[in-house]
């Protein structure tokens, strides 16, 4: 055992003295997490800064029922200015369409909503007499998210008008069929008026921000974007960290130190056990450093300690087993670098290391479960949301199964190579 530890300690010290390797293992994941975290608003939330929207309303309104006039454009402006949406969009009124467009051109707003003069007549006009018209959405092409949000809100409002109009026309059609044409027009106008006074005026369109949740699981808190990204980056760079250390088997073979070790009375299985241990210990240390750094630099709440420890150990086992498997399949350091990078990148893309696991759905969620890192990331997400060991049983067992298989195949191949 002491010889295994001696080999592991020797490799760990060598790694800690290797500045490029340290940068790859520790600095890169932290830097990427910080960069991406800040890009998405930073800190502990997924919040996106409010989209600035310019609005001009040229709608003059229309008579809806006897003695009742309504302004559909005003309703849309009201929706956009709804208190429920204050965190999503900030509306500024413009006096003309030209002024609204200019604010977009000048980069002062992400989009402009231009409401035409005949909007109410188009909506409340009866039958085929209603003129066709459209609300114009003028977008800054470089701010697609803001444009999409605005389009969604305005679209929802218009959908409500169109739905009410369709319902009114249906009622009018029914009355006409019964030979009561005069009553039909009245019915349509009454239906529209009721919509305006009820659903429309209530500004029923709203957007609710909601953090992703794991299916069938109670989520008690939101997960910060930096934490999600750092978890992904940590596992991704653990693969590379493990690869760097596992590669020393090939490096030592070529440098002559491994054959020399084999001439000592230390059994070969002890020597390989020491090398394997050094890979595991190194990535474990790497993970712990990243977790601690994430806690103190970014204030990430990783969750319950026992669950985090279990996930970290399993992640280290997966990274070690995979790296040893890759190294057992190659002959040169160059092959180890190239093939290893390819394997880890593909796994990271499939497993969701760059996208997070919670946002995945449908086929991609299933694809993620084909990879050990996908399971680990889902487990991490659950623990960061307050889950415990009981919630992540499969997220531990499945990757552990992967690790055992990787490790077993690697041992068989190394035994054959160094028999």
């Amino acid at each position: 055992m002491s010889r295994i530890l001696a080999i592991a300690w020797k490799d760990l010290r060598s790694t800690m003295r290797n500045a490029p390797a340290l940068a790859m293992m520790l600095v890169a994941p932290l830097a990427l997490a910080a960069l991406l975290g800040f890009a998405f608003g930073g800190g502990q939330s997924f919040s996106i800064s409010a989209t600035k929207v310019a609005v001009t309303n040229a709608d003059t309104g229309a008579s809806v029922a006897a003695g009742t006039a309504e302004n559909a454009g005003g309703v849309i402006v009201g929706v956009l200015k709804s208190p429920d949406l204050k965190d999503v969009i900030t509306v500024s009124d413009k006096s003309s369409a030209a002024e609204a467009r200019k604010s977009v051109d000048d980069g002062k707003t992400a989009a402009a909503v231009i409401i035409p003069a005949g909007l109410s007549r188009a909506i409340f006009g009866s039958g085929s007499t209603a003129p066709a018209t459209a609300v114009e959405l003028y977008e800054n092409p470089t701010q697609q998210i803001g444009g999409a949000i605005t389009e969604s809100i305005v679209g929802q409002a218009l959908l409500g008008f169109n739905g009410a109009r369709a319902a009114a026309l249906a009622a009018a059609g029914l009355a006409t069929a019964n030979g009561d044409g005069a009553r039909a027009g009245k019915l349509a106008q009454e239906a529209a008026a009721k919509y305006m006074q009820g659903g429309g005026a209530a500004a029923g369109v709203s957007v609710t921000q909601r953090a992703p949740r794991l299916p069938g699981r109670q989520s008690t808190k939101d997960v910060g974007v930096t934490g999600t990204i750092l978890a992904g980056m940590m596992i991704f760079f653990m693969f590379f960290g493990a690869n760097n250390v596992a590669r020393t088997i090939i490096d030592e073979d070529r440098a002559g130190t491994l054959p020399r070790l084999f001439t000592t009375p230390t059994p070969r299985q002890t020597i390989l056990g020491g090398k394997f241990s050094s890979v595991f210990v190194t990535v474990l240390v790497q993970a712990v450093i990243l977790l601690v750094a994430g806690r103190f630099i970014f204030g990430i709440d990783w969750g319950r300690l026992d669950a985090v420890a279990a996930l970290t150990l399993v992640a280290a086992a997966v990274a070690s087993g995979l790296a040893l498997l890759v190294i057992s399949l190659v002959r040169t350091p160059a092959q180890a670098g190239a093939i290893g990078a390819g394997v880890y990148l593909v796994l990271a893309l499939l497993g969701g290391n760059f996208t997070g696991s919670a946002a995945a759905g449908g086929t991609y969620a299933n694809v993620q479960k084909l990879t050990p890192n996908g399971w680990l990331l889902q487990g991490w997400d659950a623990v960061m949301r307050g889950g415990g060991l009981g919630d992540i049983g499969l997220n531990l067992l499945v990757p552990l199964g992967f690790a055992v298989v990787f490790f077993a195949v690697a041992v068989l191949r190394f035994r054959k190579r160094y028999a």
Binding site: S2, R3, A6, K10, R13, S14, R17, N18, A255, G256, T257, P259, R260, L261, F262, T263, T264, P265, T266, P267, A419
Partner: protein, 339 residues
């Protein structure tokens, strides 16, 4: 006792434990028909039935050109390679069936520096000491002793990567001495180092022999083999072609001297003419020179000049060497040792 096999059938052979000096000595290494073929059945036959013994306290050198099979032989005796045939007993233990016991008895100094360059000399020795089963105070004490032995006490905390080639070689040897092995294998330990470091290493090896250590040494430097060895085994193409003391081996070529001649033109024609000269036993071309073995250089040299003059050639350089291992190798293989 001398034994020789030509590059083919045996001329005469003696495989019993060696005797030299004062009476018969006990063999600590006994190699019998050792054979190694890579990727059989069609792969390279690197070692082809090598047999020899090494007596306790003896320096035994394997002398041969690069690719002769010296390193492969050492690898098998180190239990690093599994023999394709034959066996060897080291301190009474078979390299085939009792590798663990063999490894405890040997120290191996590989041809290339096999150290961790990012670790200091002391850290290297401590690490390798643990691999040899040392621990605690015994390990620290032994590391101190070895640092004294390789005269690197004052540089023990420096990283090996900062050392000169000679210093690295010394650490490389020091590692193999940590557990006080019964037999020390040194595989070309002086390749690529300066004369001063080489001298230091050779003196160190002689000192180890004087302390009773058995040493198996491989080299392609004839002078080293001559200076160090109690006995020498000459290997070529995986075969042991001669074994004996330096004196015994040199007697193979008798009193013949080695004469190298350069001429201004027609070297091939001159070699053919010189081969006919009385007193010349062997004549061949080695690169741009004629190499002759002659019975008495003082008598034969004037005849060689006369023959050249008669052929219209002018001798531009002459080099006469008394009988040595190079000539033995030349005699036995028809090739120079450096080839």
């Amino acid at each position: 006792m001398l034994w020789v096999t030509a590059a083919g059938p045996s001329v005469y052979k003696e495989t019993s434990a060696p005797t030299y000096g004062e009476g018969r000595l006990v063999s600590i290494v006994e190699v019998q028909g050792l054979r190694k073929q890579y990727d059989p059945p069609k792969g390279v036959l690197a070692v082809d039935g090598v047999s020899f013994d090494i007596a306790q306290g003896e320096i035994f050198s394997l002398l041969g050109p690069n690719g002769a099979g010296k390193s492969t032989t050492i690898s098998m005796l180190s239990c690093l390679l599994h023999p394709s045939g034959g066996d060897a007993l080291v301190d009474g233990h078979s390299v085939v069936t009792d590798a663990q016991a063999v490894k405890e008895a040997i120290g191996v100094v590989p041809q290339d520096i096999a150290l961790y360059p990012d670790m200091s000399a002391r850290e290297n020795l401590l690490f390798w000491g643990k691999m040899y089963g040392l621990a605690g105070e015994a390990l620290k004490t032994r590391v101190d002793e070895v640092l004294e032995l390789i005269t690197l006490v004052d540089r023990q905390k420096d990283r090996v990567e900062k050392f000169s080639g000679g210093m690295k070689r010394r650490v490389n040897i020091g590692v193999a001495l940590l557990h006080k092995p019964k037999v020390l294998y040194l595989d070309e330990p002086t390749v690529g180092i300066d004369p001063q470091s080489r001298r230091s290493i050779l003196d160190g090896i002689l000192a180890l022999r004087d302390q009773g250590m058995t040493i198996l040494y491989t080299t392609h430097y004839m002078a080293e083999a001559q200076e160090l060895s109690d006995r020498i085994g000459i290997v070529d193409h995986g075969k042991m072609i001669a074994v004996g003391t330096n004196g015994e081996l040199v007697k193979i070529v008798g009193e013949e001297a080695h004469v190298e001649l350069s001429v201004d033109h027609s070297l091939e024609g001159m070699v053919e003419r010189w081969a006919e000269v009385r007193g010349v036993t062997t004549a061949m071309i080695d690169e741009d020179r004629a190499v002759l073995l002659v019975q008495d250089a003082n008598e034969v040299l004037p005849r060689l000049f006369e023959t050249a003059a008669a052929a219209g050639s002018r001798i531009t350089e002459v080099n006469v060497t008394e009988p040595n291992l190079e000539m033995v190798f030349l005699h036995l293989t028809g090739r120079a040792l450096r080839e």
